[in-house]
Structure formats: structure tokens, C-alpha cells
Amino acid sequence: MAQAAIELIGINKSFGAVRANRDINLEVTRGTIHGIVGENGAGKSTLMSILYGFYQADSGEIRVGGKPASIKTSNDAIALGIGMVHQHFMLVDNFSVLENIILGAESNALLKSSITKARSELDRLEREYGLEVDPDALIEELPVGLQQRVEILKALYRGAEILILDEPTGVLTPAEADHLFRILKQLKEQGKTVVLITHKLREIMAITDTVSVMRQGTMVATRETSKTTVEELAELMVGRRVLLRVEKGEAEAGAVKLSVRNLTVKDQRGVTMVDDVSLDVRAGEIVGIAGVAGNGQSELLEAISGIRRAVSGTVMLDGKPIDVTGVADPGELRDRGLAHVPEDRHHVGLVLAFEEHENSILGYHDKQRFLKGPFLNVDAIMADAKDKIAKYDIRPGNPRLKTANFSGGNQQKIVLAREIEQDPGVLIVGQPTRGVDVGAIEFIHKRLIAMRDQGKAVLVVSVELDEIRSLCDRILVMFAGRIVGERGPDATEGELGLLMAGVEQQEAAQ
């Protein structure tokens, strides 16, 4: 007889005037995978944070395994066998993988014996679930994809019976996501319960048993996955029909706007991350770079945008060189019409402690229209922020709200609005729709295509094959720091997948 692992009854939670959760009822059956979908800001993370003891509900009841539970801190949740992998990782950047995993779960006052024990335990978990990570690597040196594995290992290490994953695949490629899903299925077979929040309806269809839909703080529907469709879910979420694939005309590529030649970039440890890469982006086209996270895409974007020094190579913007090996400065590049939406919105693209309007000028804070002499022109900044909020439907629409208090998808919109609205000649975008809901994806894709049609050059890096294929006019595949192939938008997923795995390259080498 199926038993409820978790029951949430009549949960309410407000943040000031924002009612993040109202009267939520949710029952998750033990040994199943339960999906939760909903627009950005619908209250999914809040609900799970209540379950995990981060927030206290204003009212309502939580039952775990049939018994009423009082979860005041995440330690209470862990003690009840609830583990959580957060939407935004909670790792200590300058700790090693191993140190992060035992942090807070040290079994012994003597760290050394904890570490030895943890190392063998970690080794077992890694092998059992195929979650390889170097236990001694520093978190800050790991690409996001691997950082997430660490988060999962952390929960498993603490003996989680119920695993909550908040948008776990936002940073993964389909292959990596498949891998994750195999792990989740394995967990399910062992009787564990999984709650999965995701914006990717395809994943919901592929892996969940049941799916619940949230909208504006309420639970609007719960369906058996086998009895629903992607279209129905999208409509339930947004309240209207959604274009899952934005239509676009043929690209009319013009002159080369951005030209990269023989670019080589090394990381802090001296490992070559970008290896002799050459590419062109023309006016009026969207070029996509596909690849498994950690294959040099991030470093490539950082080098072009002047954040990271390249070792060698040249980059030309509108025919004039960018000093990528010397003193290229992101501020100067902005002036020359190159805008950059960084992959890591939390540490690079935004200052989370700032109010929304302060972030809406980040990087453009030296522009005359936002200044009055040495002073910030607060009125102009606020007006501009309100404008973007309206145009991009950023919610809640309060430019004075601290950025950390916006939901993940809305934070992404803040960055996109800022960069796109500068009307740059060249836009480079890392993971344009990471963590963004279906309605907003439609909107962002439309904006990017509109930019293309105005004759702008757009370079997109995404680990989302669907996104790359529906958005881009040309697809470059990156593997181990090199561009290993170019395909048109009609390339099949299988074909790209093979390239991304480096298969063709290895064959060629033999």
C-alpha cells in the first residue's frame, strides 16, 4: 500500500505583501518521483525551503512518514531523513569537495579520522551512483556541473531518505541529466522518495510518477504523469498557451562583427581550457556553442568579454582588435558595443545584496545618463529600472527589493534586461534561460531573435541542446577546449550528442 512520505497541509507563507505560498496541499508518495513545476516566482523553492526548515510556514502542517513533524531548522529536516540540493549551490568555495561534504557532519572532534572515514564513504557513493568528482579539488575550481554533483553527494552522505532537488538539471547537458535521472531512478528503486522541481517539462514527462503545478503561490493541479502532456502542463503553469519553440525566419547574415582567431586560455592551475579556438559571428545571426559543461565554454566567454586573460590569440570586434591577452577591460568593451550575460549570475552578473535597481545598472553605472557629476542619478536609475521591470515582467515589480529575494528566474531576467536593453552590437550570452520558466523562455528567445533580426550578432553558450537547436543559426560544438564541429540548426540531437562527447574526434585521432 502506497504510503505518504511527505504531506503538506494548508501551508501559507508570506514575505511582507508577497504571498509566496497560499493554502498549499501536497502529498508525496513514498518511493516515487514527484515533480513540481510552475512559473518563476510561483513559490516552489519557498515551499521546499519550508519543508527543509529554512523558512517557517505562517500556518499549516507538515507530516513526514505519517507523523506530524516540527521542522524548525535544516538539522531537524536532516534528522527526519530529508536532504536538499539547492537551486543555488550552498558550497564553501575555497574548501575542497571532501571538506564540503563533511562540513557540519563531522562525526568526530578529530577532523582527521572524520576525513578518512568520509573519504572511503564518499568513494563508495561515487562508485555506486557514478558521481565521479575529485575529492580534493577546490569547489571554486570546479565547473558548475560538477559542483552540483557535490551537492547531491552531500545529501546522500547525510543519509537522506527523501531527496529534494531544486532545478538540478539547470546546469546539466542532456547526457548529464540522463545520468542524474538514472541515479534518481536507482534511488527510487531503493525505496527513496524524490521531489524534483524543474522548468523542463520534458524531464517531468521522462522521469516523474506524479506532477504538481503551482501558479502564483497556489497549487493549481496534480496529475499522474502518464495522463498528462507537456502542452497541458505549460498551459496550467502560465495560464495561457505557450509556444514551446519560437518561430523564426532565415538568418540574413551580414559582415563579421566578432572574430576569434587561435584563442588559447588557461585556468588558474595552468590547465589549457580553451585550445586554439577560432570562430566568427556575423551581424544578423545567432551562433550557438554546445557542449558539456566544463569543456571551456565558460573560459571562452570570459576571455572574449575581458574578464579573463587569454594566453594567446586575437579577437576582433567590428574589425578592431580586443586586447584579450593584455588589458582588455569589460567596461571598455561595453562602450564598444559588446554586452555579456555571464553564466554565473550569482557571483558575476549580480550583486545579490544590492537592491534590484542597483543591479540594473551594474557595468553601466559609469554612463552619463545614470550620473549627475560624481553622483548617482537615483531618479533616472529608478525610472530605468521600472521600465525594464515592466518590459521584462520581472516579479515582484519592486526596484527596491533586495536582489537575493527574487526567485531564480527573475534574477536571470534582471541581467538579461540590463544587457539587452543597452542595445549592443554584439551580445554574448552564457546559459540564457537557465532556471527560467517556459513562458519566460519563449519571451527571451523572442527577444534574442528580434536582436538578430535587427542585425545584431549574438553568441550563445548553452548546455541546453533544445535551446541551441531552436535558437541558433549555426551550432559549434566544443569539447575539451576545442571546437570539434559545426552543424546547422537541423542537426539531430544524437549527432550533436556524439560530437559533445568527443566521439568523432577520438575516432579521427585513431
Binding site: 505583501a17 508577497v18 518563476n40 525551503s49 574578464i307 557571483h347 553605472h365 519592486n398
Partner: protein, 379 residues
Amino acid sequence: MSTPYAKLPAWADYGLIPLINLSVAFIVAGLVVVLVGENPFRAAVILVEGAFGKGTGIAFTLFYATTFIFTGLSVAVAAHCSLFNIGTEGQAYIGGLGIALVCLSFDATLPWWLIFPMAIVAAAAFGALWGLIPAYLQAKRGSHIVITTIMFNFIAASVMVYLLVGPLKPAGSQAPQTRNFLSGAELPKLNWVIELFGAKIRSAPLNVCFLLALVMAFLVWLLIWRTRLGYEMRTYGHSPKAARYAGISETRIIITAMMISGALAGMMALNPVMGDQHNVAIDFVSGAGYVGIAVALMGRLHPVGIVLAAILFGMLYQGGAELAFEMPAISRDMIVIIQGLVILFAGALEHMFRPYIQALFASVSPKTVGMEAVKGKGA
């Protein structure tokens, strides 16, 4: 969003928590007083009366507060750029050197209102210079600013000892200090303002530097929250990566912030040197730079908080002196212990009671622990 950004209402954040911290500090201090066999309540009364009871007491309290406002602002400006400037002490000391040079050169020829602006510039410039070197080393060489500023405090002390027993000491004098300035380098007192309210003042060193300190507090507020430079400093302070992305030069912002911080520290010297002693003597800063760290932390790095915290510490200094005088069992060192306790609870342990208070608020009324109300419907 999943980080627990539980927030308290402003009155609790800025009023209740400092009050609780302070009360605990005074309770512990009271226990110390009981240990030495005195009545803690009488001690408290003497302390407060000593600081605010008579006109003279108020003037002294505000005089000390003036010093702490400068050093508190100095620490806060650097802290907004995530630089922990421990060097306020040394920067103030060297600031005193700048003042000495101006005053010794012009006190015979110019009136105070011409010397004062020159001395302000000199004090700020010397202090800024003393902040510049550690800043440069941090920005260019990665030498940690905490270490270098501490080292620079020692270097400043040595330099000043050398100058005050050597070149700056008048021939034939036994005291390690400059000659006394002539009246041209003496700043006007502000005691008459307090006398306007009917209080009587014997002689107290409160002077125009108090007004300068308040002006600087306002300018620091403008700088941090209203200027492009302050925006850049805060960006770097919260996230160096975001600053890099925004095209903010790390070298430039570190050096600028430290120079402003050093300048404020240097200006602190105006108060004791030109306002009170009318000479530069060995160790005239006497720890005010370190008190500035506590003042800045307690004031939550906000100028208004810093002014209030500085007045509190001024009260401890003045009332403490009174207490040591009135209660023989309580020595000067005991006063230092009490001050230390306030620093400990209000500064270092600032966050000790916060989680409990947050939990309390959450259980009494969960809705208060959120953000301020926003317009528009919840999404």
C-alpha cells in the same frame, strides 16, 4: 531563492539588538563591579552622571565622541570595500605629523581659520598616504591588508617616536613632544553651545572638530550611497568578481578606498592636537583607532550608527574616568575592562543573539520576518 534571508524589522535590527548587546555587556561589567565589592547600580549612576550629568561632562563626552566618529568612519569606508583597515591608529598618528608641520610653520603668522583648512588638508593627506602604501601592496602584490596595516601602525609609532624625541622636539626640552602651538593654531571651543542650554562648563576641550566630524559623517553617507565611487566600492566589497565584470579596476578601487579611509583617520588627529593639547605628543592617538573598529561594527557601518556608537564610547571614556575617581576600588584598568566588554558584545559578538531573536520573532509573528511590504500582487 532558497537562502534564508530572514530579516528583522528595522527597529529590532537597529534598536533592539544593539540594546540587548549593550545590556549584556553592562550586566557582565556589573558582575565585575560586584566582584571588587562595589555597588554596580551606584557605579552605573556615577558613569552616566559623569558623562551626561553636568555641562562639563557632556562636553568631554562629545570631545571623545568626535575622535571616535573619525576613526569609526575611517574603518567603515574601508569595510564597505571589504577591506579591514586595522591601520586607522597609525594613519591618525601620521595625520598628526601633517598637522604639526602646518601648525609649527604658520601659527605665528596666520589666524586659526586659515590654519585650520590647511591642517585639515595636511592631516587627510598624511593619513591617506599612510593608507596608500598597504593598499598598493594589497592591490599589486596581494599582501593582506590586515597584516600590512598592523605593521604600518608599528612603523608609524617608530617614526613618530624618532621625530618627537629628535627633529620635532624643541632644544632643551625633556618631553617627547613638539613645542606648544601659539594661539593661532588653537581651535575655538564649542562649550558655549552647551552653556546656551544653561549648563555650566569649567574647562573642556570640545571644539569645532565636532562639527567637522558631523559634516564628514554626512559626506561619508553621500559617498557610500549616492556616488558612483561608493557604488563601485560596495560592488567590489560584496563581490570582486562582479566588480571585475562591471569593469571596475580592482587596483584603483582598493587604493581609493584605503586613501579615503586613511584621510578620515588622519583627520581624527585634528581634535586632540589642535582642539585640546596644542602640541603633538607621543602616543596621542592612544588606541582611538582600535576603538574605531568597534564603533564602526556597532554602528553597522552606517554613519548615523557610527555617530551614536561614538557617543556611547565617548560616554564610557568620560563616565569611566569619573567612576575611577569616585570609586577607589574601581581602577582605571577596570574601566578598560568595561570598555572591552562593550567592544566584545557590541562589536565582536554582534551576531551572538541575532539568531535567537530571529527565531523569537519568527515564532511570535512569522510575517514580520520577511521583507518590507512591496507593491503589486505576489507572484
